[in-house]
Symmetry: C2
Subunit: 261 residues, 2 copies
């Protein structure tokens, strides 16, 4: 077993879909797709020219790699249902330790792409950082060769580092998106369209591609502009939760140690 040729996807969600397309486009064979949701399994399998099932007991034997791209808290349960012994298995989770596989099989690992996926946005994997971990140096090497077919940024990142990285990803993705949603609520109150914020949102993300975010920080909190912040809190008076968030994030920004140029 030196090169992976045949893959079975366990899961048919956002990550499974994007990984499935990427590996298929790289010339690998997706043998089968499993999902507990039969329609999801069929939809992805059809797109990938693969077999499908919604029963764990019907997952085929003999694939070179089983990729578990399911919800974090389903991983252990799914592994135990898979007659895993002897199979090479990886999961794709940021927060679940690799050792979740330890009791079930001898060869295992993790393929964690640092990205947010949607089923209907097929992303180019080449620039997506992918973090690997494996139960042996030999299996790490096998995963490395496999994932290098789809990404130009493959790194070895052990479970403990990966857990921190996943927390960072919440701050890099989930929390900014919530801020966008809150901004959207506010422009709607002003009877303006969310569109008006799109170039600003994009430029804010583009700017930190070039300069570190603590040097890119701007706004009333960084300037210590109490008058503007007070007026903003006044606008938010009917939404105590958001008002409280505004105050706390602003305070944290004021405390940032940056060159206020």
């Amino acid at each position: 077993l030196e090169n992976i040729r045949n893959i079975i996807l366990i899961g048919a969600g956002n990550v499974a879909t994007n990984l499935g397309y990427a590996f298929r486009d790289a010339g690998l064979n997706i043998l089968q797709v499993y999902s507990r949701n039969p329609a999801a399994a069929e939809a992805l399998a059809t797109a990938l020219n693969a077999a499908f099932t919604h029963r764990l007991t019907e997952v085929m034997e003999g694939a070179d790699l089983y990729i578990l791209a399911v919800a974090d808290d389903a991983i252990a349960e799914v592994v135990s249902g898979l007659r895993a012994s002897g199979k090479f298995m990886v999961h794709t989770s940021g927060s679940v330790p690799m050792e979740v596989f330890h009791h079930f099989t001898g060869n295992y690992g993790v393929i964690y792409p640092v990205q947010t996926f949607s089923k209907d946005r097929k992303l180019d994997f080449r620039t997506i950082p992918v973090c690997l971990e494996a139960s042996s140096s030999r299996h790490l090497e096998i995963l490395n060769r496999l994932v290098s077919l789809i990404s130009g940024d493959v790194r070895t990142v052990p479970s403990e580092q990966r857990r921190l990285l996943h927390l960072a990803a919440v701050f890099a993705c989930n929390f900014p998106n919530f801020m966008y949603a809150t901004a959207g609520k506010i422009v709607h109150i002003a009877r303006l369209d969310f569109d008006i914020l799109k170039p600003l949102i994009l430029e804010t993300a583009l700017k930190v591609q070039k300069i570190e975010p603590d040097k890119a920080q701007t706004g009333p909190a960084l300037r210590g502009d109490r008058k503007v912040m007070k007026a903003h809190l006044q606008v938010l008076r009917d939404d105590p939760e958001i008002k409280d968030l505004y105050r706390r994030i602003s305070r944290a920004i004021e405390a940032m140690e940056v060159s206020k140029s």
Copy 2:
């Protein structure tokens, strides 16, 4: 006075620099740049082939438009120092009402670009939304013609709407950037480079160019994944301020009314 030809820039910061380049590139004449910082005035004026001064009393008479792109709390002071009577003046602030000019001159307005600017990032104005307001419909029309030379998205937005929009911009730009900075701190603790988060940050911003952010929300808080959130809070135990923010933002995300697909 039907078309603006000659502009004086009051201010040489991020907004003045970007507006100055955009108007210059559109064929307008930047007569003079004022900044209380002589080096900043000279640097921008030189780039724009304009005169410069750091004394308000030396600001020239006779320009078609005076654009005040200075800090919010400096606007009133600067106007009063400009012998403003008879001059057509605008400011570029999101949060200062247009009526700040009322006691000083009869013709005034606001040009508020909804964007974050840096001196060293010369942005393409064509897609930047620019909000206008003016003291008369005639002056609104003049500003509209002027700003349409640089932007394809010019809108009339009165002070009260603009104040809300500026608050939304804090949530769309300043707060996400703070989240990026916090994410950067966390990856550094993991001895990883901020680079690893860049594709994720960019895709998060690109996604909401296509779908509304409340439909783009992902992550442990949206899934109600208590186990992951508890582990994240454990990681953050030594930083009570960030831990508290994590908890509060997560709670607000859990309360979002979205289709959790």
